[in-house]
Structure formats: structure tokens, C-alpha cells
Symmetry: C2
Subunit: 483 residues, 2 copies
DNA sequence: ATGTCGGCGCCCCGCCGACAA
DNA sequence: TTGTCGGCGGGGCGCCGACAT
């Protein structure tokens, strides 16, 4: 597994903080399989509304009516992600990431490609196990019962000539603290157990039944371990530092100030506290905004994390499309999709999601940007500038930074005009020379959705050979069943 | 002891928070003898700069250069303190207060009086003891050694007919949790000890040597206990919720928004984390701004908290008067006094203080507002409006809300004009009928400093008898040795 | 007056297999 | 395969006065 492109800088953020690099694989394992940090150096879309929701979730307190609205702050900001550092709370081991964002007013095709490519380097960790602790595991009466497969896959093999087979395990946590355990294979029937040292770990981390512990092996075969706490009700009710209002205002004001000056700003993303990611890779957002022509009643699938840190998809139906907060955040697309779930046990699943979180189960038509263009014409048409009015409106509605602002007046460049304007500078840049080799090794299917647009406007930028290669790679998963 | 005028509302701030009222005496005891919360309903002066410093101190991180300056936010805001609620962090027992402030543009004489009177109801708690824990106290090897005087003063008397004399003590903490201890008088020589139950308390509160524990008795003779942690280096390095920048911006933006709309806002005051109080009773600020004609080389005294929760004064000399941050906060008076301390062990004492924190040791001349007026004429002169230009400038510099803004232009009402304008409404109010009896019992010397101004402008508001009575009370400490 | 320590009793932590789910 | 429990041995928690400061 790899957290792609994370700039691993031992920051001084909070003196006394980590003086070493947090292991990215361990961080990812603690964060969960669905968390996918954007890569440093790529473009992202930042949603202040989602950031605000994280604050509310962290404070266990909703937003009050006192928060002023920031009319100059758009509901989404196109940013460059300058820097990503991984952190873990020294008290609770809660993982979080510090992201340095800088608003920008435009992106080019290369940025889109880089964003897309950076998303693909994720591959699930296999040298990994995670167990939710039982009452026996956490009681002072005994040790930890290791699931057999986990022990055989992760731990160094035991010497079964010993009676009983046993060894000393040494594992490091997120803070590079060392924990040692006696690993023994005994009992009738035989089982793997962690005994001596385990209770120190439980009390040191203040674990209770329901919390999870996980082990991974790094590239040097060293054992690492982390924890994931059960989602308890009473986490931190308040920081006692800043009022909830001031925190919300701080989020908005910081973003507004950065947007006004195109200056960098910093956000913390807390994967286990936040209901949803609020810094979205540009390509992910772009594809969703571009290809998902959503409508009421549409069926979709969505990934969820299972217990034991697996993933599975649930199916649902779109029951509504409307603003979560039509007053402060009009047309924000932040969790603007109301959904119902197929399985009745879905009571705890969210009833609002954002467009980039779902996969429509209808075939991936390229009905982008509007159904005005026939399906067949969508594959590789050249659209004259004059016919792109609907496209312009679509993008001005969803990506206001492309034009001047979100106002109704039709000033501002159209997406097509803007793209054409970018041609000259892009052509002098060519493609990033590193991009082509990567593209050749690139086998993911998702990129298909941006290609129509891509080739639509930038045919001149890519050799026919490259294009064909990509097409060949992509065809198996991009067959349009209706074509 | 009394925390004056605190509105004791069981707020829902942070659901799951205190469902009961925090005992104000216990809160005060944990906060320390120097902490003096302004009373709800009175006027205060709020210093965003000081608030920002508390954020820095809580985050253990200075302010970055990224914070935008808020040119429309004055360095001090006159506010009404609507509400004060006391809190304690459920994890650490750290005490803090939530203050609801509302900016206002003017105050009248009654507000000044009420502010002053509310400061006087403080009387130090006597049914109180505080001990810094030794290594023996916190080790698992034994119990807690109770200082003899403390045990005799605070704990219920032992039955010395028993051998050994012993009893069960029950004490409640800030969260109303009950702790029971065996109190025994034994050993050779005899001493008071807490044995059974003590180690549970130490581990439950995670106390170490150097932390303090304190006991008080409430009005119903019930035993209460609290803790004060030693000022360790690594407290909470970061909230993992909001970036330091966003927190600072949040503080400033919330204050700016409230000031622009005269709308309420909320701040948290954390007495043990903050280097200085940043919400100052109006009367306290007024007296300091009015009477302390400070100059380089001037000698002063200042209160400090001792170990064991006592107070003592240290003497020092003013070595500079200048802005702490001349760019963002010009003429803010927030810690604008540079000082040196007499005792060489004063290394850890602050080298910058605010005007209301110090007591000049020169006689309290009434050389307010400027030396332009002769000393003798300062006692009870009537100053015609036309001669008050310097006074106006002084107050416009230090209390900009009195005029229109801090700009150099001479628009805006002068203090004198404004005071005169207030006369009609004040006269219809008369004095608060509760104020006069309190004034008669009032023996403190500090109020003298505001009286010249007071009587200067508001002679018509107070009977000669009352004035004389006050004068008699005040004369002993207001003798001008040069007169 | 009170901080620390040696002595030592006993509680409960924690290792074991039995047993069942 | 693994969660829970009775059994039980020993380490350390915690109560005591001695002694020093």
C-alpha cells in the first residue's frame, strides 16, 4: 500500500510533535481502507462546507446560527495541494493529516492528468490484520487471542520444535514507541496468544472492548501496530480553547482570506472524525461532475468500510437532489444527493452523499455535459465553440472558478474559451515527460470518463500512438453496452 | 469566597457536558487566587490580542505570519458581559469559563459603578488548603501525607478516643464525582494520612509529583476537592481539529463580525493556560488608563501567585512603554509595558505587562489625563469643555470606542461631549438604588482613582453627603505627598 | 512537621488449560 | 476457531512504623 505522493516532512507543527516520519502505511491502515489522501503537488477541490462539518463532528456540536455567511467564499475552491503531512494525536493515537492548500483560478489538462494518475497508486495492504477487541482481550484476566490466519500471515513463524512454541514480538506504534509481547502457541485446542506485555499495551493505550488493534509489516519486515477506537459517543465535547462558533468562523475566514489573496492555508483532515472527505482530487471531482448525469430514482453503488477493515458496496437509490444548505451554500454539490439504501439494516448509513462518492450502476454513458448531445456523438466529436453554450452553463454552475464568479451574469470565460486560451502555454509545456511512461503502465478503468473531454479539446497534445495505446488499455472497461 | 455574579446555567455547550452546576468556589480555588472573573451583566474590555495569545499558549505554538490583519477590528472592544458559565475539562479537570460578550459603543456612569462594585465582592477563601504532591504522595507505595493544619482546619474532627483515630472522608470533584478516602491519624510521630482510596484518585486523575491537590468545604460543610496540574511542557500540542492559523483567524473574525454587528459572541477563558486575562472589568481598565501616568523608570508592584496558592507582590521598574505588536495592534495597551524585576530569581516572570496589572508605588496622583493640568488643580477641578482637548485626545487614543474610530481626524464625539450627552438619560436613571448601601460599606482604596473624573463630570448625580463619606474613606490612601 | 524507606500481608494481575459456542 | 472461565502462583499494591530532615 502506498499513500501517494505524501511529502514526508517532519514538521514542527506543535513543538514536541513527531520528530520522525510517521509510517505512511501504518497511518493508512489506521485511517481505514476508504481514506485516500490526494497527492502533494496535485490539484484538489476543497469544500469549506465539508470542513465545517468536520469541525461540528469533532466538537460533537452542530453549527449555530451565529456564524456569518461569507458571500465572497465560494462553496468549492480549486486548490493546489502543496504539502501533506501525516500526524497522530500523542494522547489518543487518532490519525489526521495536515494539508497545505493554495487556491488557484485555473487548471490545465496536465493538472487533470496528474491528479488522476496520483489516485491510482493505491493498492490495498495485504500484510495486515485488524481485530476488534473482545471483553477477554481487554480484561486484566488474560492476554490477547490472535486470529490464527493473522498470526500466520503477519507474525514471524514460530519454532514449533519448542514446547510450547513461543517468541518475543517487538512492534512499533505511530509514535515509534516500542511494545514487546510474548507470542505463544498453546492451549487445548492450540491457539496463538499474546501474553506478557499485552496488558501494558491495553492500559497504555486505554483500550476497551470494541476498539480495534491492527498489525502490519513494513518493507523491512518490521512489525508495526496501531489502534482504531470504537466510535464512542463522548469523545471530546469541546476544546476548551475556542468556541464552536469561532472554529467555524475560523474555517470560513481562513478559506475566504486565502481565496481572496490566492495565498496558502492549512487544514486538518481527520479521517475517523469526518463524515466525508472534503478535499477531493480534482480528477475525482471532475469525473463525477462530468459523467454522472444523476436523476431521481437512479440506482447506484457506494463503498463502505466493514468491521475488520474490509470494504463492501451497498446499493441504493437516489431519492432527491437538492442543496444541504440552500442559504449558505447554494449549488455546492456537497452531499446534495439524498439516497435510500436497499438493505433494511442500513439505518446507520448516511442519507446524503456527494456526487463523487457514488458509482451509478447504469452504464457509464458519456452523456456529458448534457443530454443535448447525442450519445454517439459524444465519443470523439469536435464541438465548435458556438455550440458549447450548454456546456458552459453546466460548468459555470458546478465549477464557478472557471468563470469569474457564481453570479448569473454571463461575463467570464467559458470553459471552452478558457481551454483554448490555455493551449499556447500548454503546448510550450508539452506533457510532463514523466507522464508518458506512467501512462503506459496505467491500467485503471476510471480514467476513461475524462478522456472524451480530454481528447475533445486537446487532441493536438497527444500523439495518435499514445492515444491508441490508452484506448486499447481502456476499452475493456469502457465498452458502452448501448453503442 | 465568591465568584461574583456568575450566571450559573447548566449549558448544553458540548452535549454530555456538565448536567449540574460547577461549584463556583471550587472552580475559583482551582483557577487560583489571582483569577477574577468579571460579573455577568457588567461592562468589560475585551482584547483580541490577548485572546489570540491564549490560543497560542494553548496550542504551544506562536502565531504565524499568515494571519491577516483585521484593520476594522479595534485592539480593544467595549462589551457587555451577558453570561458567564464555568466549566472543567472532563479529561484533565482543567478549568475554564465561557463568556458571552456583546460589543457596545458606549457606557454610562452607572455601568462604571456596577463594574467597580462587582469587583469588590471577592474575598479570599479561608476554608481551603492546597498541597503540591510529593513523590511519596503519588507513588503506589503509600498514601497521602496531609499537612496538619490543613487536616485540622478542613476535615471533620477525628474521634481521638479511637485507636488509632480514623474516619471515612467523602469529597466531590468538579464533575460531582465522589471520591472516598480513609483518613487516619497514626505513625510515630503522629500524622494525618489519607490511605485507602487515595491511589484510585491519583491514577484516576493521572497525577504526578508536582501536581497539586486542594480541598475546600462548601457552605453545607461538604468536602470538595480539585487539582491543579504542574505547568508541564507538553500539554496539548495541537487540537488536530483546526490549524493554529484558522484558530487565530477564528478569534479575530468572530470578534470583528460581532463588533461590526454589535452581536454577541463567545470566548473561552482558560485561566491556567492564558498568560494574562484578556477580558477586563471596565472599572479596572478605566482606573488604570485614567490614573496611572506611567513613565520610564517608574517603580511598581504586581501580584503573583505563590506555590501553595498564596499571593505575594514583587517589585519592578518600568523599562519601556511600547506596542507589543505595532503592526497589527497599534496602541493596544495589551502588555505594552516592558518591565524589569527587583529579585534576580525573577527569570520566569513576564517581562511585559498591561497597565491594569501593576500598581505604581508612587502616590496615586490624579495627574489624569495629562500633566498639562497642574497637580493641585487635579483634585476637584471643573474643566470647561473648551479646555478638554488634551483629555479628549488621551481618551480617543486609549478608548477609541468613545469617538468614532482610531483615525487621526478629529471627528467623533469627545469623551466630555459624550458624557454630557449621557447626562439626561443617566439622570432619569439615578443611581442604582442598590448601589448606595454597598458604597457605604465599601472600604477599598482603589475606587478613588476614578472619583476625580466621576465627580468631575457627574457632581450633580451624587449627594454631597455621599461624596464626603466616600472622600473620608478614601483620604487615607489618597494623600498626595506633594500637595 | 513530614518525606522516604524497609517490612510484609494480601489482593489481584496474569498465565494456564477446560469447555463451549 | 476462539471467547470465557476456574484455578492458582507470584509480583506489587498499599498499610505500618522507623528514621531522618
Amino acid at each position: 500500500m502506498k499513500v501517494p505522493g505524501v511529502t514526508l516532512i517532519a514538521t514542527n507543527h506543535g513543538e514536541g510533535a513527531e520528530k520522525f516520519m510517521i509510517n505512511p502505511e501504518l497511518w493508512q491502515a489506521c485511517a481505514g481502507p476508504l481514506v485516500n489522501l490526494p497527492a502533494a503537488g496535485t490539484h484538489v477541490v476543497y469544500f469549506p462546507q465539508g470542513h465545517s462539518e468536520q469541525v461540528s463532528a469533532s466538537m460533537k456540536k452542530g453549527m449555530d446560527a451565529q456564524i456569518p455567511s461569507y458571500p465572497n467564499l465560494q462553496s468549492k475552491l480549486l486548490c493546489i495541494l502543496h504539502n501533506v503531512t501525516l500526524h497522530a494525536d500523542p494522547e489518543t493515537d487518532e490519525v489526521y493529516a495536515q494539508l497545505t492548500l493554495q487556491p488557484v483560478t485555473a487548471f490545465d489538462k496536465e493538472a487533470l492528468l496528474r491528479s488522476d494518475l496520483s489516485m491510482k497508486s493505491y493498492k490495498p495492504q495485504t500484510e495486515f490484520f485488524c481485530k476488534t477487541l473482545t471483553a477477554s482481550d481487554t480484561s486484566t484476566h488474560g492476554g490477547f487471542s490472535v486470529p490464527r490466519r493473522a498470526a500466520e500471515k503477519i507474525f514471524p513463524p514460530l519454532d514449533f520444535s519448542m514446547q510450547p512454541p513461543a517468541q518475543e514480538l517487538v512492534a512499533r506504534d505511530l509514535h515509534d514507541s516500542v511494545w514487546t509481547f510474548r507470542h505463544i502457541f498453546r492451549g487445548q485446542p492450540k491457539r496463538h496468544l499474546l501474553t506478557t506485555g499485552w496488558s501494558l499495551f491495553v492500559s497504555g493505550k486505554r483500550l476497551s472492548a470494541g476498539d480495534s488493534v491492527l498489525f502490519i509489516r513494513d518493507e523491512k519486515q518490521q512489525l508495526l501496530l496501531g489502534i482504531r477506537r470504537a466510535t464512542r459517543q463522548p469523545t471530546n465535547l469541546s476544546s476548551s480553547v475556542l468556541s464552536s462558533d469561532s472554529m467555524h468562523i475560523g474555517v470560513l475566514a481562513a478559506a475566504a482570506h486565502a481565496a481572496a489573496n490566492n495565498s496558502p492555508f492549512t487544514v486538518f483532515y481527520n479521517p475517523r472524525a469526518s463524515p466525508s472527505e472534503f478535499v477531493i482530487p480534482l480528477a475525482k471531482y471532475y469525473k463525477a461532475a462530468c459523467s454522472n448525469q444523476l436523476s431521481l430514482g437512479m440506482r447506484f453503488r457506494m463503498m463502505f468500510e466493514t468491521e475488520e477493515s474490509g470494504t463492501r458496496r451497498y446499493m441504493g437509490t437516489i431519492t432527491g437532489i437538492n442543496d444541504l444548505d440552500g442559504v449558505r451554500w447554494k449549488n455546492s454539490q456537497w452531499r446534495n444527493i439524498q439516497v435510500g439504501w436497499d438493505e433494511s439494516t442500513a439505518g446507520e448509513r448516511r442519507n446524503r452523499v456527494s456526487i463523487w462518492e457514488i458509482e451509478p450502476v447504469t452504464a457509464p454513458f458519456f452523456i456529458c455535459p448534457t443530454p443535448f448531445y447525442g450519445l454517439n456523438r459524444q465519443r470523439y466529436p469536435g464541438i465548435p465553440d458556438g455550440e458549447s453554450a450548454d456546456l458552459d452553463n453546466f460548468f459555470k454552475r458546478t465549477m464557478p472558478w472557471v468563470g469569474e464568479d457564481m453570479s448569473m451574469k454571463d461575463t467570464g470565460l467559458s470553459l471552452v474559451q478558457w481551454m483554448n486560451m490555455q493551449q499556447s502555454s500548454i503546448q510550450s509545456n508539452h506533457l510532463n515527460p514523466l507522464a508518458a511512461p506512467v501512462l503506459q503502465n496505467y491500467g485503471g478503468p476510471d480514467m476513461s470518463r475524462i478522456l472524451p473531454h480530454d481528447s475533445l479539446q486537446f487532441n493536438s497534445l497527444r500523439s495518435t500512438a499514445q492515444l491508441d495505446q490508452l484506448k486499447n488499455q481502456l476499452v475493456p472497461s469502457t465498452v458502452n453496452p448501448l453503442a
